[in-house]
């Protein structure tokens, strides 16, 4: 039986989007502790990039404290610190994520590890073996599959859109539940559907709100501008470099360009750099069921991820003359192939680089987006950037409209907004509270929020007791609560309401009958049987709805209450009425007694 019925929310580090932060949320629900996401902050090069796990517990093992860890999707700001957390800090419990996330996470983690350690020479970082060991602790889940973490805690994943394999998770203990959205998108795009959840009515919905204040330019206009820029550059013989994170937006842009090239009958080559991206396409094909309806339909005729106009890239192609478009990793131009190509092409103003995502401070991507045109490379070399620098934001997060839609779908009792910036979002809070009549919280990083729930505890009632209670008295009124007597048995995490007799029997206790007898003195000089007759007539007249009987032995019964008359031992003019009832008839018994104490009406006989 859960003793504590409150929800405890603690945000170890939140953020996404604008300030690519690290998401890591701790929820304590009915005594169970769950960690939601375990992200890395890519802007820092020291320990600040990982969440501060000492917040959870100062001493004592994390494995004992946490019941499970849930990862919503493969973006590094949601899973980047996972190997550090499980292998370097120490956690051996279960880690839950969807199948595509489980397949793609290790690739991204290894890629990032390589760049950070091999290229930058970092030391306090997780190793390849640690990534492998960490993934061994992962339990993959399917959408809408209820997974029992233990006897009391269960989780269920819902489709979140956003990127391949992204899920929103429902965490349930008994009748209390929390839904964590991770990053989600309520509008479908070219390769993913929209997020969806049923009317699960959680006690708390935790949702990302960084983009809540955004009113997004339509997709059509973004795509139109993107294609226009690419087309213009290619028409004048220039080369277009698109640095990508390989998984996610890259697929979307590929589909977009492929369709455009086909429609406009363009001949310039499009390349997709190898390695990470090949594997990514391979995984997209594997998880075709995670993409949207339209893609799945066309997959039957022709695999949408096999492109006619897009070929694999070879390093040597970068020196080829003439126009071309190249997708290369990594996305922020901080190392690797995309940086190599950038250096080759930067000096020609006919060329263009299109950054499709936000760049973290310190990366080349960020510098050129800020307007820097002279970059210092290794060996004090200065690179002059003459190529056009463009930014196209295609990121798919829920905006205010999307958040309202999700709340409308799930019908939570409370809403908690997680945001990267320390902005005041009073207006959104009021909007949600007014529209849905729920409480809305927006804690800052490191802040604790306590939410009280009203748990409803189901109790089984025995059929016999139910029948008995509905039999007595007036017909039950569905709207009015009915008072009843029973015994509540709490045993083995179950609650049963049974009749007292059955309870006694089950508990092996002897039943004792309590009987009350009350003496009422009546002034009446006549004989006992005449007094009895008077009492009988009086009661018959007053208690019309009750069964009043005059028995042959001279006693009166009112329902199961017994009334007998005797003469007073000392005073013949006084009669003593003995009113006797069992404990169950207490109410009627007391009423009768006070009625008789008022005296009898003068009789005419």
């Amino acid at each position: 039986f859960p003793e504590i019925s409150y929800l405890f929310f603690f945000c170890l580090g939140a953020g996404a989007g604008q300030d690519v932060g690290r998401s890591c949320i701790l929820v304590s629900i009915a005594g169970k502790n769950v960690m939601l996401d375990c992200g890395m902050h890519m802007g820092y090069n020291d320990d600040r990039r990982f969440p501060d796990f000492s917040y959870i517990t100062q001493n004592g093992r994390l494995t004992d404290f946490l019941d499970c860890v849930i990862i919503s999707h493969f973006h590094l700001d949601h899973c980047g610190a996972l190997p550090y957390f499980s292998e370097m800090v120490g956690y051996d419990g279960p880690i839950y994520m969807t199948h595509p996330t489980k397949a793609i996470c290790p690739i991204l983690l290894e890629d990032y590890r390589k760049i950070t350690v091999d290229k930058k020479g970092e030391t306090n970082f997780f190793t390849s073996q640690m990534i492998k060991d960490c993934m061994k602790k992962v339990v993959a889940v399917h959408l809408h599959q209820t997974v029992q973490v233990d006897e009391e805690l269960e989780i269920k994943a819902y489709y979140a859109g956003h990127v391949l394999g992204a899920a929103m998770f429902q965490i349930k203990v008994g009748c209390e539940s929390v839904v964590y959205t991770g990053d989600y998108n309520m509008t479908p795009d070219r390769h993913l559907g929209a997020a969806w959840i049923d009317k699960c009515r959680p006690d708390l919905l935790i949702t990302e709100s960084t983009y809540a204040t955004t009113i997004r330019d339509s997709k059509r206009c973004r795509e139109r501008d993107f294609l226009k820029k690419v087309h213009e550059t290619v028409e004048r013989g220039g080369k277009v470099l698109i640095p990508v994170f390989a998984l996610g937006r890259a697929q979307e842009l590929c589909i977009l360009l492929e369709t455009f090239w086909e429609r406009m009958n363009l001949k310039a080559p499009i390349y997709f750099s190898t390695g990470l991206t090949e594997k990514a396409n391979h995984y997209y094909k594997l998880f075709i069921t995670w993409t949207n309806q339209k893609i799945r339909k066309t997959f039957v005729q022709r695999n949408m991820f096999e492109f006619k106009h897009i070929k694999a890239f070879d390093r040597a192609f970068a020196d080829n003359p003439g126009p071309m478009v190249v997708f290369a990793t990594p996305g922020m131009l901080h190392a690797g192939q995309s940086l190599q190509i950038f250096r080759k092409w930067a000096g020609n103003e006919k060329n263009m680089v299109i950054m499709p995502g936000y760049c973290v401070q310190g990366t080349v991507g960020h510098k050129i987006l800020s307007g820097q045109r002279k970059l210092e490379m290794e060996g004090r070399q200065i690179l002059e950037v003459k190529m056009q620098v463009e930014y196209m934001s295609f990121s798919a997060h829920a905006d205010a409209k999307g958040i309202m839609q999700l709340i409308r779908q799930a019908e939570p009792r409370n809403v908690l907004l997680v945001h990267g910036e320390a902005k005041k979002m009073e207006f959104l809070k009021q909007k949600i509270e007014q529209e849905f009549h729920v409480n809305c919280y927006m804690p800052a990083n490191g802040e604790t929020t306590t939410i009280f729930t009203n748990p409803s505890i189901p109790v089984d009632i025995s059929l016999g007791l139910l029948k008995r209670e509905t039999a007595i008295g007036l017909l039950p009124d569905a709207k009015k609560p009915k008072l009843m007597h029973g015994t509540l048995i709490m045993k083995d995490n179950s609650f049963r309401l049974v009749s007292p007799e059955q309870a006694l029997k089950e508990l092996g206790l002897a039943e004792h009958q309590l009987r009350f007898t009350c003496r009422v003195h009546i002034q009446d000089p006549r004989k006992e049987h005449e007094t009895v007759l008077r009492v009988y007539n009086h009661l018959k007249g007053v208690l019309k709805d009750y069964s009043v009987q005059h028995l042959p032995d001279g006693s009166i019964t009112v329902e199961s209450i017994l009334i007998q008359a005797t003469a007073h031992s000392e005073d013949q003019g006084t009669k003593v009425l003995l009113v006797s009832w069992t404990y169950q008839d207490e109410e009627l018994g007391s009423y009768l007694t006070s009625l008789l104490k008022k005296g009898l009406p003068q009789s005419s006989t």
């Binding site: 204040t213 955004t214 009113i215 997004r216 330019d217 339509s218 059509r220 206009c221 973004r222 139109r224 501008d225 936000y358 987006l369 800020s370 307007g371 620098v389 463009e390 930014y391 934001s393 205010a400 409209k401 309202m404 902005k423 005041k424 979002m425 009073e426 207006f427 959104l428 009021q430 909007k431 007014q434 529209e435």
Partner: protein, 362 residues
Amino acid sequence: YEDLHTFELQAPTRVIEWARGNRVCVAGYGQSGGNEILQLLAPPTLQVKETQGLCPERDFKVECGGFSNRPVYSLKHVPDTSLLVTSGPPDSSLQVWQVSAEDSDVIKRVSAVPAENGTGQPWAKIATVSARAPWVLHGSRLDSVRITEVESGKNVYAAASRNGEELSSLAFLDCHTLLLCCAKGQLCLADVRQPPSPLEAASVPSAPCGERWCMGVGRGPQGSDSRSRPVVRLSSGGHLILTDVRKTSESLASAKCRVPSPSSGAEFLCVSWAPALEGCLAVSGFDGTVHVYDAQSWDGSGREAEPVFVHKGHAFGGAGGGADPPQVTVHAWHPQKPRTLLSAASDGSLHVWDWVQSCGKC
């Protein structure tokens, strides 16, 4: 198009008001309450910057918001303050709002200017100016025109007309000259320095009856007399009349714009001068389009004019088929960028567009 951005508001708006610092205000006009007043920060792509740095964002951001029980039919920013004034049914009172202080993003209602006496007054039209103190000019009929000091609520001026004609637009030509346009098309001038005298309404020359009119007042060339500001009137039948304020009974030039028949009413009629493109004006409210005209080519004949550009984007929006096609509710020019306009429609869409300059002037 040179540029086109399309957005979707959660609720349609019939006001677009530019405020300082690249901000735009919109507000809902739903009859059943729960309307939002939003102050949006326009995307950096709409800023005019000397060094065109990168434009990382193309989205509007909701900077502040407030809740209004009434539908908002008119919204004006009060210059040199952080106040907004709104008006709307069921009466002609005004609501004054404070756009947030530093620590909150909520637009709060701070005061109200009470309605005129008499029942059944339609909603008030408003205009604002920063004179000795921030003023709001408001009224629903010619006989109820007043100027109220926004912060103190004090009445500064009241028109003395007995004419109960319904007003459709009003404007400050400068801080002491008012120009009023009646729904039937008459123009009235008033000087607040003079004692209030009965306003003379000059009617529209050769105008067909039964049409509703509205007005647009341009900035005029810099440093010029306020009386040389261009004035145009638009009717629900598509007639456009240019007038010199000094001679309101005559018309300088006129034209006719293409109006779909049958005309869908005058609810959202809107005409405005381009602040940075001489002689250009925009017209909307007949259907889902916005027309841009070059008025410099007009003469006195009143024949149909050819638009320089037509924005059709709103007509294609919304669910196809059954539902009524969206109607453009309001448009507004960008204060600095010459060919950039914002337009909103009844389906909640908000477009920002910029058309390619053809070889002509506009």
